[in-house]
Symmetry: C2
Subunit: 492 residues, 2 copies
């Protein structure tokens, strides 16, 4: 199978598309722009969900569920937000089909079942949620509201790619309401940090924390914080965003509270989300020409055991050893699969688990039985070694930790060697084509310049890094004064 995989150096984009399908993560469906997330892909997403959900609850958030549909009048209440999403939304206009009398067995939209008001399939839920918060908030005692929702959303994208850009995707969206501006900003920053922690420590993907420029800001937000990751082809990927909404939605939906002095004030809001897009980041950060490489934290199968045998007696003896090893691994919380299919040869199985990114593969043969050993192959480094069966569980647990850390280090090294300070526009264009990555450059702070650079190079400002140092300089494009560097990149 893996021999059929396009190599990254040949065509990175094709490699990605093929890998997602061949590794059984997802596939295109019969519905334009919508994907099917297959069981193996969904198992990874479930692991992400479980960890994120734990982190949200630990930081005081509760889950709830709000409607899929947003009536048009509600949708348009916050004008900037509505404008931002109006061009790409699915609209329900009717509520019944009827038999098409001209075509036996076919159905048609019943023209008598037109809705009085059109319903928008949520592209994001600020409108529906803030219209609800109005009745939940009267006094400062009702604040903060710290709520998260796991849901599907729809954005009518014209060009779609599995996980990276699909018409429907799965995500979580946090929506919080606060009594003060300061508290809302702290929440926005806290959730950006939760995302960074998750993406770095759980997904082994290093990120840069920053703030979006006005051009790239969420429609309806006063400020958008983001975490930006770098893929192996030198393109950036926005891995999560956290928005400070100011009082925009509170004003649009008239959400006020009585403060401690009894005075009416508008509530301050935030929203934050990550989506199945993270699956794309996962694939593109770690995987190689042989297939997926999964960080142990996210691998549905962390260890696979393949028996190497000629006779049934050998298989049975290996089975006994494998059973004991599996029991030990399971007790240690490590997920393990024993693949004793006799319909497939070991070589076939090796390829399959390489394609699927299983972090550790164990082979046990007759010699191993005699010597009390097994062979272990690391997916990330493609290295093998023979180790003693004694103390195997501890050894494997340590290896998994090592792989998790090593994947992060490798991605971090790639990322760090792909941030380049650039001061001239020709160099900017050259570097963007030759090496890619983040270009750290001065910018005059205007949306016009940002737009012009995007037109000319397809690079956008990914973020103004939170840790940037003040440095007087000249805009890489206009030469006008700048107070510090921002990060440009082509992006997914």
């Amino acid at each position: 199978m893996s021999k059929n995989l396009t190599q990254r150096s040949e065509d990175y984009s094709k490699w990605y598309n093929e890998l997602v399908v061949k590794a059984d993560l997802a596939e295109n469906s019969g519905v334009r722009g919508c994907m099917v997330i297959k069981p193996y892909g969904y198992a990874i997403w479930e692991k992400m969900q479980r960890e994120l959900d734990r982190m949200f609850k630990e930081t005081g958030h509760q889950n709830a569920y709000f409607p899929l549909f947003v009536p048009k009048s509600m949708f348009e209440a916050e004008e900037t937000n509505a404008e931002g999403f109006a061009k790409e939304c699915a609209i329900v206009t009717h509520y019944r089909l009827k038999a098409d009398e001209t075509k036996p067995g076919k159905l048609m939209v019943d023209p008598n079942a037109k809705l009085e008001e059109e319903l928008i399939v949520r592209p994001t839920s600020e409108a529906i949620i803030w219209s609800t918060y109005k009745s939940w908030v009267q006094s400062y005692r009702d604040l903060p509201l710290l709520i998260n929702q796991w849901a599907n959303v729809v954005r009518w994208e014209m060009r779609t790619r599995l996980f990276l850009r699909t018409a429907e995707f799965l995500w979580q969206e946090g929506h919080t309401a606060h009594a003060t501006r300061q508290e809302a900003i702290e929440e926005t920053e806290k959730m950006m940090n939760v995302y960074a922690d998750f993406v770095e420590n759980f997904m082994a993907i290093p990120v840069i924390k920053g703030i979006k420029t006005a051009n790239e800001r969420f429609a309806g937000a006063d400020e958008t914080y983001c975490i930006e990751a770098l893929m192996q082809d030198g393109k950036a990927l926005q891995a999560g965003t956290s928005h400070f909404l100011g009082q925009n939605f509170a004003k649009a939906f008239d959400v006020k509270f009585a403060n401690a002095e009894g005075k009416q004030e508008y509530v301050w809001g935030t929203s934050w989300g990550v989506s199945t897009r993270l699956m794309g980041a996962l694939v593109m950060t770690h995987s190689d020409d042989k297939g997926l490489v999964l960080p142990p934290n996210l691998a549905p199968i962390q260890v696979v055991i393949v028996p190497i045998h000629k006779t049934d007696e050998q298989l049975s003896a290996i089975g006994n050893v494998a059973d004991e090893l599996m029991a030990g691994l399971k007790a240690r919380g490590i997920s393990v699969k024993y693949d004793d299919r006799t319909t497939q040869k070991p070589g076939f199985k090796f390829n399959e688990y390489e394609l699927k990114g299983v972090p550790l593969r164990i082979a046990i043969g007759p010699n191993d039985l005699e010597n009390g050993t097994f062979e272990i192959a690391r997916r990330d480094t493609l290295t093998k070694e023979t180790v003693a069966m004694d103390n195997a569980v501890e050894y494997l647990a340590t290896k998994l930790d090592e792989i998790q850390q090593s994947l992060f280090n490798r991605a971090m090294e790639y990322r760090n060697t792909h941030i380049t300070e650039v001061d001239g526009f020709d160099e900017f264009k050259d570097l963007l084509e030759s090496k890619g990555g983040f270009l750290s450059a001065h910018w005059d702070g205007t949306p016009e310049t940002e737009e012009k650079i995007k037109e000319l190079t397809k690079a956008t400002i990914r973020c103004i890094p939170l840790d940037r140092v003040a440095e007087a300089g000249k805009c890489v494009f206009t030469g006008k004064p700048s107070a510090g560097r921002v990060l440009f990149a082509k992006a997914y």
Copy 2:
């Protein structure tokens, strides 16, 4: 608060609606027929999800995710299914809004953004899933497919009630494919049994397992198995269904496999689901005039501790005792909350936790500190006792088990005393009005009689019980011969 709750004997339906809102489970939204599931309600749903998900995985199923939308041509492929859902589906016809030039700040559907083919918001996912299975199944080696999806679905109901009947609801839907008819039937029955196990042992709601008549069968199924529960007002509630789909969807979507002899055969299918409707069953089975009564397995808070104090010193001393108790309970896996708000009196808190159905409430006062005791109040029986602090954790754990069992027993006793054998139609009508419950009666087996009885009495055949005994008799309505009794009831 609870003093404002309508009593069940006054108006059961009003009691239910009020309770769902007052106990913070859910509320109506600004979108017709769609509900908001509030954090407390969602926390209960999450507990259901977690347990069901565990049970599905234990029985070999994997989760996946399929698109929200179904193109019309795909929707209509299985004609019986399409007909069954055509009258109540939300239809997406456009994919863009634009500025309404006649109304500043308002948006309108862009007539230039009409879809070539309408998309149906899934009312159920057989069509989209079977259209996908076509490419997943070639050989008998690819079978069985054992897949589950957690998702939202939309059915355009005209009269809606929180949890019981909403335009959008949350559910899980299993969709499996098998090589043989026998295996598919076994799967259908297995999942009905999983549901019965869950609803009885986790939700403490007794159910009757049975088969639906043709009239009540899922559109597109050859056989629908169901579990039926009985609410406190004598009306039945279908708590879960499991459908044997025969080869209907395989034929509609041309899903064939090569059997071991290399011959092409159509695949056999099942589907099965339970939904947020179970929340309604939960409320209506156990709760009382003071509010929710939650089985400990489903209670987000299983034990609440309320300090009774006059001075800050007392509060602090009680806090120390509570801390220790909480640590012990948490270590035992019991969820506990300590409510030391000083803004509310104990009586207010007692009412609040009664309303919210917390199974055990503990009060600790200064006397308790002296005596090494605490007061414990059971929500289900509304009884109190004073017990020693020594060994408190074990005592409380035992109490929780006792409550879980006791709720089931109470519901079972109610159910058992509300199944009545009836042989005459006058008695049938009388009993239906005076007592309700399941009426076990003979039926001549025709859809016409079933329809007629429904017209006259609003009672439907809830199921043909799996454990019914063969008994020759005469139809309660027509007097024609019958081979055994079926269960009639008015139903939600």
